[in-house]
């Protein structure tokens, strides 16, 4: 599996371009509101695998948590493919896993959660970062998020064994 790097530079480029064009035209332009940069599309297939799972609350602990999560591949969190195009994962505080769908939104955000609920529902988790070796989620429910923090999943498979990026 290969995840693209979060395309922050591309978003900034288009915002700058729009502002310049508006200036040449001589009209007043309200700059677009600053939003979370859009993530590249994430498929359920890319989530299937064995992951070292760690969590942190302070951003200063992220780098250390990623290393520790990789070490936890000795007791990995296993994500399997579901029968309805989703992935088999646990919702917060639920011992039994169930099939969850990857739910992208028009605004470029991506949620993972029950298919019968809309994207961004309180039971969902949101993918907030992806790269070649990991993905990071936060629970939408602020109570759950405050308890479990930001969860980072680090791929346990060696690079050569991962499927090529789509």
């Amino acid at each position: 599996m290969g995840f693209a790097i979060v395309r922050r530079a591309r978003t900034a480029f288009w915002l700058t371009g729009a502002a310049l064009l508006a200036g040449c035209a001589g009209d007043d332009v309200v700059s677009p509101a600053v939003t979370t940069p859009a993530l590249p599309p994430v498929t359920a297939e890319q989530l299937v695998g064995r992951w070292g799972l760690g969590s942190y609350h302070r951003d200063t602990d992220r780098e250390r948590t990623v290393k520790e999560a990789r070490a936890q591949c000795r007791n990995p969190y296993v994500i399997k493919a579901g029968s309805e195009g989703g992935v088999i994962m646990n919702l917060a505080d639920e011992k039994e896993p169930r099939e969850l769908l990857v739910k992208p939104t028009r605004e470029g955000r991506t949620f993972i959660g029950p298919g019968e609920r809309p994207a961004g529902d309180l039971t969902d988790m949101e993918i907030i970062a992806v790269d070649d070796t990991s993905f990071t989620v936060q629970w939408v429910d602020p109570d759950v998020s405050s308890r479990y923090g930001t969860m980072v999943y680090v791929n346990c498979a060696p690079r050569s064994a991962r499927p090529a990026a789509g």
């Binding site: 007791n75 969190y77 917060a92 011992k95 308890r147 969860m151």
Partner: protein
């Protein structure tokens, strides 16, 4: 007649009050025994207790006590059955801290040293806990809500630690997992007083 009736009433009231007082005296030690019992409670990652709940009162409140020992000042002595940790001060005095004890803490007694110290230690749930709660992170960076609490003192190369807690209600009890735990204010206080290399003695009450 009014006077005898009033007298009888007063006698009955007196008797009831005496009975209540006697019951309280009998119940109080029983309650203290219950408080030193076993508490079946899982770790609660992410739970942040109310500040008021972290303030201990009564015997488990941190206090200076009379304590006769031949150990040098600065030594930590843990009495697991009593649920107290003593920091020897010298002159027959010790700072006494209320502690919770894990079941593992009952499996040995002996002598160790503080091998290292950590602020806001990380937590790695034991494998059996992950089996019960498979959604748990296998590693949780330290911070408020972390079951290891605000500080940790690691004992030799063993799995045993003296650490804080996010479950202050477990002080005075033996809990299903974990080692020697203090409320966060107490473990921060102890952490400041105790250098690496401090001698730690763990004692159990003799079983008949």
């Amino acid at each position: 007649m009014a006077m005898p009736e009033k007298g009888v009433l007063l006698q009955r009231l007196f008797g009831a009050l005496a009975g209540l007082l006697l019951s309280a005296i009998i119940v109080a030690p029983a309650m203290a025994q219950v408080q030193r019992g076993v508490m079946e409670i899982e770790d609660q990652p992410g739970f942040v207790p109310d500040e008021a709940d972290e303030i201990l009162a009564g015997p488990f409140e941190r206090q200076l006590v009379y304590f006769r020992t031949t150990e040098a000042p600065g030594t930590i002595i843990i009495h697991t059955s009593e649920r107290f940790l003593y920091l020897v001060q010298g002159n027959n005095r010790a700072l006494r801290y209320g502690i919770g004890v894990g079941r593992e803490g009952f499996q040995w007694s002996g002598l160790l040293q503080v091998s290292r110290k950590q602020e806001w230690p990380d937590w790695r749930p034991p494998p059996e806990m992950i089996q019960r709660q498979p959604y748990l992170p296998r590693f949780m960076a330290g911070g408020p809500g972390n079951p290891m609490g605000a500080r940790a003192l690691y004992l030799g190369t063993t799995i045993y630690r003296i650490h804080g807690t996010n479950q202050p209600q477990t002080i005075g009890h033996a809990v299903s997992s974990g080692c020697f735990r203090l409320v966060n204010n107490d473990v921060i206080d102890l952490y400041e007083r105790v250098p690496v290399g401090t001698k730690v003695i763990v004692r159990h009450a003799a079983k008949l």
